[in-house]
Symmetry: C2
Subunit: 275 residues, 2 copies
C-alpha cells in the first residue's frame, strides 16, 4: 500500500465485546478525520477469566480479520488482550499495533505525586502483572498495587450500575486499596469507566482516576503522524465507521447507541473462528 493509500485507510480497533467502544469514542473525539473499523468478539466475551494462550489465539484471528479491511494501524482496546497478547501479536504482524496498557501506565506515572499507583482490572490482566511491569519500566521507584474486580463487568453488563449491591461490591473490592495512600488509580478494564463516579465517590477526591482511553487516542495520533499516515479527511468514502461482531448484533447495537456520539445503524456478524 502506498503512503497516499494508507492515509485514507481505516484504523482497526478491537475488544472482547462492547467496552472498547469507549476507546473508539475517544479516538473519534481526538481524530475526527480517521475512518474506523471496530470488531467486538461478542461470541467469546469475556476474555478476563481466560488464559494467555487463548487470548493470543483470539487476538490473532481478529487481527487477520481486520487486515482484510486494509487497516493502517490497530488499537487493542481491551486491557486483557493488551496485557496478554500485545507482545506476541506485535512481532507477528506487519501492521503497527497499540494497546491500552502502555498509555494507561504512562498517564498514571504522570498523575501520581507520591509514587504510589493502584490498578484495577480483570483477573487475567492483574495476574499478568503487565501494568506493574510497564510502570516500573517508566519509573522503578513507583509502588504499584493491583486488584482484580471480576464482578464489575457483569454488574455493568446486567444493568446494575445504579443498584445498591454494586456499591457493596465496590467497597468489597476496593477497601484494601482505599486503606493505602495511593494517589492515582488506573481503571484497567474498558467497562470500569462506566462505574467511574461511584468508584471516585468511594475512593475520595484526592485520588486521580486514570482512564487509559484518552492517552491511547493520543498515542494513536502520534503514531499516525510519525508515519505520515494521518487521514486528511479527503479520502473518506462511504461509511466512516464500520462495526463488526462475532455474535448477533442487537445487544451490541443498543449499547453502541448509548456510547457513541452518533446513531449506529447497523452491525455485521463475522465468523471470526474462520480467520
Amino acid at each position: 500500500m502506498s503512503m497516499e493509500c494508507k492515509k485514507g485507510a481505516p484504523v482497526g480497533v478491537f475488544d472482547s465485546g462492547v467496552g472498547g467502544l469507549t476507546v473508539v469514542r475517544e479516538i473519534i473525539r481526538q481524530l475526527p478525520d480517521e475512518n474506523i473499523v471496530y470488531f467486538g468478539d461478542t461470541a467469546r466475551v469475556p476474555y478476563g477469566s481466560k488464559s494467555q494462550k487463548t487470548v493470543i489465539r483470539f487476538s490473532e484471528q481478529i487481527i487477520r480479520f481486520l487486515k482484510t479491511k486494509q487497516v493502517k494501524a490497530i488499537v487493542i482496546a481491551c486491557n486483557t488482550a493488551s496485557a496478554l497478547a500485545l507482545d506476541a501479536v506485535r512481532d507477528e504482524f506487519d501492521v503497527p499495533i497499540l494497546g491500552v496498557v502502555v498509555p494507561g501506565a504512562r498517564a498514571a506515572v504522570k498523575a501520581t505525586r507520591n509514587q504510589k499507583i493502584g490498578v484495577v482490572g480483570t483477573d487475567a490482566t492483574v495476574r499478568s502483572g503487565m501494568y506493574t511491569k510497564i510502570i516500573r519500566e517508566l519509573n522503578p521507584r513507583i509502588q504499584v498495587l493491583e486488584k482484580a474486580c471480576p464482578l464489575f463487568v457483569p454488574l455493568v453488563e446486567e444493568g446494575f450500575k445504579e443498584h445498591a449491591v454494586t456499591q457493596e461490591i465496590i467497597e468489597y473490592y476496593l477497601e484494601s486499596l482505599r486503606a493505602t495512600d495511593i494517589d492515582a488509580m488506573i481503571l484497567g478494564c474498558t467497562h470500569y469507566p462506566l462505574l467511574r463516579s461511584r468508584i471516585r465517590a468511594y475512593m475520595g477526591e484526592d485520588i486521580q482516576i486514570v482512564n487509559p482511553a484518552y492517552e491511547t487516542a493520543l498515542d494513536l495520533k502520534t503514531l499516525l503522524e510519525e508515519r505520515e499516515m494521518s487521514s486528511d479527511g479527503r479520502e473518506a468514502s462511504g461509511s466512516r465507521y464500520e462495526f463488526y461482531v462475532s455474535d448477533t448484533a442487537e445487544k451490541f447495537r443498543q449499547f453502541a447507541n448509548t456510547v457513541m456520539p452518533f446513531h449506529v445503524p447497523e452491525t455485521n456478524v463475522v465468523n471470526i473462528e474462520s480467520y
Copy 2:
C-alpha cells in the same frame, strides 16, 4: 460400531464450562458402570448471553469432537445449549442426544400440585421460552413463569456464594416469583444448584425445587437400556472418566475437584474451533 462395542463406549457430556459437572456427578451416581468423556467450553463460556446461531455452532463443534471419542450417546448438560441447540443438532448427527430441559420440565410437571411452575435460567434460556413450550406440551393447563437471573453465574464463579450481596441479588430476581403461588421451581442452569439452599430459604419450604440433573441421568439410563447399549462394566479400560476443556485447565480442575466424588488428576485442552 457393533452393539457389543457400543456397550463399552463412553457417554459424552458437554457444557459451556464447569457447571455440567453437577450432571456428570448425577450420572456417575445412577450409572456407575458407564465411562464418560466430558467437554467444558471454558474458552467461550458463558453461553447464556449469546445468540441461538452461535450456541448451535459451538454445540456442533463439540459434538464433532465428542464423536472422535466414539461416544455412544451425548448429554447436553448446559441448559442454554439444550434450549437453543438440541432440536438442531439432534437432526444433524447420527448419535442419540439428550438435553436437560425435557427431563427438568417433566420433573416439574410431576412435582406441581397447583399447576403453577416457576423457571429460573440464563437470559438466552428464558428468551427461548423452551421450558414453557415443553411443559405446555406435557400439560397445556400448567401456568409457567420464567425469570432470567444472569448474575447468578458470575456470583457463583467468583466465589460470592456466601456473601451478603448474593442474598440481595436472589431477592432482587426472585421477589416477583415469590409473590406468585407457584409450588415448583426449576433451577434451569447448572450453576444454580450451588445456590440451592439460599434460594430454598428465600422461596420457602412449600415450593419444590427441581434440579434437572437427577431426571436427566434417569433419562440417559432409559435410553441406554432401550437401545441395549448399557455398559456391563466389563469393558472399562484405562481411565473411566476423561475431562476436556477449550481453555487452560487449572481453574476447571480445581472446580472439578470440589464437585466430583473422586480426584480429577488431569484435564486436556482441545482447540475446539478446529472441529
